[in-house]
């Protein structure tokens, strides 16, 4: 038997003898993972703009009745100079094996913290989510200093800092007298 024939024979035999020992729960695992990711992303959008925080104190709550929070592609409206937060559900994040969150801010938008004044100068911030294991949610507090369309990019990374998911949050800032409900 030539080498070529031997090789062909080996391919043929190995292919036909290959056992399907794929985990029988694989399909369930896949759909559970998809459902988890879907819920997790919904939470981000439903929580957007849910709080209005000034100087670390919950000052007031604005209800954006014009926003359809069920349709993530729709742009959110905000007022220049006001402070907003996006709440991240850390319980759901943990289920996704997400270890890090990278926040990229557009020009004119800055993070807002009453305890840490340095964060306002950061354009990009990478947060180790596992160090927040005692918290159930993490607010990302920010404000814009100028008008116009902006996008905040959230990148979710695993322990090896590989991207698991990304989310772009579209915002439109206007001055208070321009905002219509």
């Amino acid at each position: 038997m030539t080498n070529e024939t031997k090789l062909d024979q080996l391919f043929k035999t190995a292919t036909s003898e290959f056992k399907n020992d794929l985990n029988p729960f694989m399909e369930t695992r896949i759909f559970a993972e998809i459902d988890n990711q879907k819920n997790f992303l919904d939470i981000i959008f439903k929580s957007s703009f849910s709080r209005f925080i000034q100087g670390g104190v919950l000052a007031s709550l604005i209800i954006f009745s014009v926003l359809s929070l069920q349709t993530p592609k729709k742009q959110f409206q905000g007022i220049v100079g006001q402070v907003y937060s996006i709440n991240l559900d850390l319980k759901k994040v943990r289920k996704q094996n997400i270890a890090w969150l990278k926040i990229d801010l557009p020009n004119g938008v800055s993070l807002h913290s009453k305890n840490n004044n340095e964060t306002k100068n950061l354009r990009t911030l990478t947060i180790p989510l596992q160090s927040l294991k005692f918290l159930n949610e993490m607010p990302i507090v920010f404000k814009s200093i100028n008008k116009g369309g902006k996008a905040i990019q959230l990148t979710f990374l695993d322990t090896k800092k590989r991207t698991i998911n990304t989310k772009r949050i579209q915002l439109n800032f206007t001055s208070s007298n321009e905002l219509t409900f």
Binding site: N3, L10, F11, A14, F18, D21, L22, M26, E27, I30
Partner: protein
């Protein structure tokens, strides 16, 4: 859905997040995909992780699939990209942390002698050469399909395949 598997109808339903259609698509391609990934990476556990991540990506992105008839190639392309990303990150990690090569770990799966013999033979190839020969000889893709999956020209696929076969014959002497 009809009892006979209709791929176009199934994909259209998958695009509407129909769970029965997604399940049918999984049933149709999971074994072929697992077989491809198992021979490619040499490890059952890693192959399973890659199957899982491939289908998650498939169901999340199926709305962007334009040519429904090219679904098999598209699924294999996603799986292949995930494997090479993994390889890249494993190599980086090995370089950074001096970790052992995952490909060197003995396989725990309960496959036949022929399967193990072929896996040992294929493991002596470079990952890209291994990918090429598996796509043709094990997954049964045509050279044109391999060209589409890998993004390599048809003539380059032919010449590389010839070279890979020659290498395998020399190893297998």
């Amino acid at each position: 859905m009809t009892s006979k598997f209709n791929i176009i109808e199934t994909i259209n339903l998958c695009k509407k997040n129909n769970r029965d259609a997604q399940s049918a698509l999984y049933q149709k391609y999971s074994f072929d995909l697992y077989k491809y990934l198992h021979f490619l990476c040499g490890k059952k556990e890693l192959a399973e992780d890659l199957v899982q991540n491939t289908f998650i990506k498939v169901f999340r992105n199926i709305g962007s699939l334009k040519n429904n008839e090219g679904i098999k190639g598209w699924i294999f392309q996603i799986a292949r990209n995930l494997y090479f990303d993994h390889l890249k990150s494993a190599n980086n990690s090995k370089r950074d942390n001096n970790e052992i090569n995952f490909d060197q770990i003995e396989d725990e799966s309960n496959q036949s002698e022929s399967v193990l013999e072929l896996k040992n033979l294929l493991n002596q190839l470079d990952a890209k050469d291994r990918d090429l020969i598996i796509l043709v000889e094990i997954s049964g893709n045509s050279l044109l399909e391999v060209s589409e999956i890998t993004g390599i020209s048809l003539s380059a696929v032919k010449s590389r395949l010839h070279r890979v076969r020659k290498t395998l014959n020399n190893i297998n002497k």
